[in-house]
């Protein structure tokens, strides 16, 4: 879904890009990783000028690597810093708090951002996430170069984002290294999970009133990857609210709390005190695990840490 697709066939930039890509393929054939699933995103090198189609279907043209980037996506911010493009970022949204260098940058509104504060920073690239999709047109009308990067649905999509952002920031090599490392670690996790037999049943809690993640959410896809069962399987929406009785009857072996500590104060103790919850397997065995929602739900390079943590907490004997 985020792989760049060729846009307008009559665009001279596109022809230039295709030519460059072909050339790059010939020159650096040994560097390519062949398991990229969609389009040209697997190509580690690229030359400017280039045109890349964003997730809104718009071909965005770059005459040179952008040096003044605004990121409205916490996931994209983490990717940019991980691939060595952090120095090209001049400002981020208010949620982009990782790594520390990103946190120190000037902050802009995440929801309904205004174009003016962005214009004042003279960016040559504005990366917007799904939350700002409605603002893209206004920003473009103000003369800004906007690249819409909707949140991917799974880790494979994050890895595609890494390569994509690498290409359009001129940091393809750094991106390729990050992407390769992520792929290697995903494969390792998958192999271990596959060898561990049937995975435990998990309840992933977003808030104490029963909101959870179904298999067609990002976190749900990670649960599938480690072969865990999901109490919210079969729910209609991505973030369903489950009745307490459904959770009690399902009797999950592990409960993951993304509403612990500063995120809502939940813990093994508060879960145990809920009516009817004390005899759930996860509560009795103490497998109620507090996690950092930013690491788990933000589509950046740290999802691999989340995945490895998931493996470790679901299969303690591995």
């Amino acid at each position: 879904m985020i792989s760049p697709r060729p846009g307008n066939a009559n665009s001279p930039w596109l022809l230039a890009f295709l030519g460059a890509a072909l050339l790059g393929l010939l020159v650096a054939a040994c560097g390519g990783d062949s398991n990229s699933s969609g389009g040209a995103s697997g190509q580690p090198s690229a030359t400017f000028p280039m045109s890349v189609t964003d997730t809104g279907g718009k071909a965005v043209t770059f005459s040179m690597a952008p040096t003044r980037i605004i990121s409205y996506s916490p996931g994209a911010t983490e990717i940019l810093f991980a691939i060595g493009a952090g120095g090209q970022v001049v400002a981020t949204d208010s949620f982009s708090d990782y790594p520390a260098a990103a946190k120190a940058l000037p902050k802009l509104e995440y929801l309904r951002p205004a174009p003016e504060p962005a214009l004042a920073l003279r960016p040559d690239l504005v990366i917007m996430a799904g939350a700002q999709e409605g603002d893209v047109e206004q920003f473009r009308a103000a003369g800004l170069t906007v690249f819409l990067l909707r949140e991917p649905e799974d880790i494979a999509g994050v890895i595609e984002d890494v390569r994509l952002l690498g290409r359009l920031t001129g940091k393809a090599e750094g991106a390729e290294a990050v992407a390769k490392d992520m792929e290697k670690r995903v494969t390792a996790v998958q192999q271990k999970a596959n060898g561990a037999g049937k995975g435990p049943l998990v309840f992933f809690e977003l808030s104490p009133d029963g909101f959870s993640v179904s298999p067609n959410s990002f976190v749900g896809s990670m649960l599938k990857l480690v072969k865990a069962g999901n109490v919210a399987d079969g729910a209609a929406s991505a973030f369903p609210q489950l009745s307490a009785e459904v959770i009690i009857e399902a009797d999950p072996e592990v409960i993951l709390l993304s509403d612990a500590g500063e995120w809502g104060g939940q813990s093994l103790e508060t879960v145990k005190a809920r009516p009817g919850w004390s005899d759930i397997k996860a509560v009795k065995s103490g497998r109620v695990i507090e996690i950092d929602p930013n690491v788990f739900t933000r589509p950046g390079p740290r999802v691999i840490e989340a995945l490895e943590l998931l493996l470790k907490s679901l299969y303690p004997n591995l």
């Binding site: 208010s94 949620f95 995440y110 929801l111 977003l206 808030s207 104490p208 009133d209 029963g210 909101f211 919210a232 079969g234 729910a235 209609a236 929406s237 369903p240 609210q241 489950l242 009745s243 307490a244 009785e245 459904v246 009690i248 009857e249 009797d251 509403d259 500063e262 809502g264 104060g265 939940q266 508060t270 005190a273 809920r274 009516p275 009817g276 005899d279």
Partner: protein
């Protein structure tokens, strides 16, 4: 009383309000109707407790409940998943719907009587906006979200609701009298101010939006015995007080001067009714969030059934309101299982068409 209802009809027609059916001839039917309603409510409670995403037969449901009530000779698998689901999860939830449905409906009828306005509902005087502000303050603070007890969220929602009602009263008060129109307008102003503060907090804490909205929608998912028993004394006191004031509310339907000549201390009755109805509403909002439409439509349903006599309407609102909300919550937890639907969506879906129907009846009766 015939004199009173005659006056009422004349006045409301002049004001363009919904004409209330005359009570003569219908009031005789109210004891059997109330009794029938109570039986229906009891049946609904048993039915709703035995239906849910997890299938548990009505026989097992009743046995589990009886065993917890220390009935002799009942042997159940104590502590089993079904036992916990029925006793710890479903029954407190259904009974919370009973209490909240009853309290909101009774409060709605009382507000409509005091303000002589058929569009009055329990959230008229800023209760909803005040509660939302109180809950939002806790949600964006580092305080724990103890949804399953009468904890910080419920406590602050309750205090916010009562503060809004108090502020509304103070703003509208002229000496010891409170002009009705000024009171309603003050409610609008206080609601707007509280909503603005809530919106500002949401803007400053975008990462908590999801939690705030899920509270605002209102639901019974976190119902518990401890929350229910915390709320019950307030609801019981305020409801009993309101039930005893049916005659005074009837007299209030006259002009206030006439009411005074009939020996009713108008300002005192109004202030007391508003206080009691607000107390009941505030406690309900504190434990379940905002549930709309019940407090607005149930009094009208009861009026259509029984006429305009508040001595009959008030007890009936309790029966009809609790039955309706138990059924709405049953829909909320079963229609899209295993997922919940916010119960406010269901009450609005039932309430809005009903209200349109009511308006059309009124228009027809005016055009005749």
């Amino acid at each position: 009383m015939a004199h009173a209802t005659g006056e009422r009809t004349k006045r409301t027609e002049g004001a363009g309000f919904i004409r209330l059916p005359a009570s003569s001839g219908r009031s005789a039917a109210w004891p059997p109707l109330l009794l029938g309603g109570l039986v229906l409510l009891a049946a609904t409670v048993v039915l709703a407790t035995s239906i849910g995403p997890i299938a548990i037969g009505p026989g097992e449901t009743v046995r589990i409940i009886l065993s917890h009530l220390q009935a002799p000779g009942i042997d159940i698998d104590a502590g089993s998943a079904h036992d916990r689901i029925i006793w710890d999860v479903r029954l407190p939830r259904v009974l919370t719907a009973v209490v909240v449905g009853a309290a909101l409906s009774l409060a709605g009828a009382s507000y409509q009587a005091v303000f002589r306005n058929p569009l009055a509902d329990p959230f008229l005087l800023g209760v909803a906006a005040g509660a939302a502000l109180g809950a939002t303050i806790v949600i964006v603070s580092p305080l724990p979200l103890d949804y399953y007890r009468f904890g910080y969220v419920a406590l602050f929602a309750f205090m916010g609701a009562m503060a809004a009602v108090f502020l509304t009263y103070q703003l509208a008060r002229v000496g010891w009298t409170v002009p009705t129109t000024a009171h309603v307008l003050a409610g609008v102003a206080v609601s707007a101010a509280a909503a603005a503060a809530t919106s500002f907090l949401m803007m400053m804490h975008e990462d908590r939006l999801f939690v705030i909205f899920s509270w605002l929608y209102g639901d019974f998912t976190s119902a518990s015995w401890s929350k229910l028993t915390s709320a019950l004394p307030y609801v019981a006191i305020s409801s009993l007080s309101l039930l005893l004031l049916g005659r005074q509310l009837n007299v209030l339907q006259l002009s206030e001067d006439e009411a005074k000549t009939l020996g009713v201390r108008v300002e005192l009755v109004k202030a007391f009714v508003v206080l009691m109805a607000s107390l009941a509403t505030a406690v309900c909002v504190a434990i379940t969030g905002l549930i709309g439409f019940v407090g607005l439509i149930v009094p009208h349903i009861c009026r259509l059934m029984l006429g305009a006599d508040y001595r009959h309407i008030l007890p009936m609102t309790i029966v009809v309101g609790s039955t309706l909300l138990v059924l709405a919550d049953l829909g909320a937890r079963t229609l899209l299982q295993p997922q919940e639907i916010p119960v406010g969506i269901i009450t609005a879906a039932i309430g809005a068409p009903f209200f349109l129907l009511l308006l059309r009846r009124q228009q027809r009766s005016i055009s005749q």
